[in-house]
Amino acid sequence: MTAAEGCGAPAGGIKNNAGPGSQAVVQGRVSRSGSPVSPGYARLLNADGEFVAEVPLGDDGGFTFYAAPGDWTLRVLAPGGLRADRAVTADTGKITELDVAL
């Protein structure tokens, strides 16, 4: 899949293998008691709390977003009604790592 064709997010998001370049990448893993959370979902909300994007967590509990620089909230949803919000700041040309323990 290329980004120009589709809009959907594969599990874990589209991995950033070539470094951030000019992108503002936010990525990390979600775990519970040391084990990856999957299935589960990571949602990115903007500074107004508005939904911007969502990816299903990968088998390793991982997620990747390509945000604009600025302040965001990462929201995690998982079976059993588990939920967590974390504040994160994205910067151009940087990969911001954010691991979430539920």
Binding site: M1, A3, A4, E5, G6, C7, G8, A9, P10, A11, G13, I14, Q23, P39, Y41, R43, L44, N46, D48, E50, F51, V52, A53, E54, V55, P56, T64, F65, Y66, A67, A68, R75, L77, A78, P79, G80, R83
Partner: protein
């Protein structure tokens, strides 16, 4: 028509999985989700391989849709239950597509794959094989599909609803934030479009909001005149199919079209007007 004619919840689907008049279909862009596990008895449709022409940018034609239905074992009289990932974007797109080719008995599973997973309901790995059947599609119903000239003519005249995120609408992002932002088209939105992100119509778990909340959202908060014709668009037409479903199927507005060319077409056209910023 009522809400239950177009939308069913997970409990209903679970109770009717063995109903011979029903075919459950998972529709995704990333079909590895189906390959990993899916609802028991569900067949899969690949948004790109099965629904898009392999050469030019358009849908598979009527004969192609008939061949797809035959191969998936779907008859004209089957009730098709669609679900998928990405908050049912591609399932809603397929729903619109089934309607486009005249298949009336089609419903969405409310909340799609996400709700099913968050409920910890059963998912299986066995790939479903159905016997091929005969299927006859209608000609495309273009009363529910908008093309680029329709959209240009609609500027300032009809409701244009841009269902992308506020950051894509304003021109800050060119694509949803789970995608790399290097895109060919210009950023921004179609002048006079109102930004009502698809996500406002859904709860966190992917289920649709109640009709009263939806009506308030489009009419009171966004200021749309629901008595006017409406064209919904996004980036490639699948998120706007989600909003088309809300407006045309849940709120039962008669004149709503989905512009599947959406921003990847409009934002690449030479000479058309583009507006930047948060809009009015």
């Amino acid at each position: 028509m009522s809400r239950s004619d177009v939308l069913v919840d997970a409990d209903w689907v679970q109770a009717h999985l063995d109903d011979p008049g029903l075919v459950v279909v998972e529709v995704d862009e990333d079909t590895s989700a189906y390959d990993k596990c899916h609802i028991r008895g569900a067949v899969k449709i690949d948004w790109k391989k099965d629904l898009q022409d392999p050469v030019r940018r358009d849908f598979v034609d009527r004969a192609g849709f008939e061949a797809l239905m035959c191969a998936r074992g779907i008859r004209n009289d089957h009730t098709v239950i669609l679900y998928g990932g990405n908050n049912n974007w591609f399932a809603a797109y397929a729903y619109w597509y089934f309607k486009l080719y005249g298949h009336d008995k089609v419903k969405l599973l409310d909340g799609g794959r996400k709700k099913w997973e968050l409920d910890s309901r059963e998912l299986v790995t066995d790939v479903t094989r159905r016997r091929s059947v005969r299927y006859r599609a209608e000609e495309q119903d273009t009363a529910i599909r908008a093309f680029r000239d329709d959209v240009i003519a609609a500027i300032g005249n009809l409701n244009l609803v841009d269902v992308r995120s506020p950051d894509e609408f304003s021109g800050r992002l060119l694509a949803p934030a789970h995608l790399p932002q290097e895109q060919a088209q210009r950023a921004g939105h179609i002048p006079t479009a109102k930004n009502v992100p698809w996500s406002k119509a859904a709860r966190d778990d992917g289920t649709f909001r109640d009709d009263d909340e939806l009506r308030t959202l489009y009419q009171d908060q966004a200021g749309l005149d629901l008595g006017r014709e409406t064209i919904a668009y996004c980036r490639i037409g699948e998120r706007s199919a989600h909003t088309w479903f809300v407006l045309h199927e849940l709120l039962e507005l008669p004149n709503v079209r989905n512009y599947d060319g959406s921003w990847t077409e409009y934002g690449s056209l030479v000479g058309v007007p583009i507006e930047l910023g948060a809009g009015n």
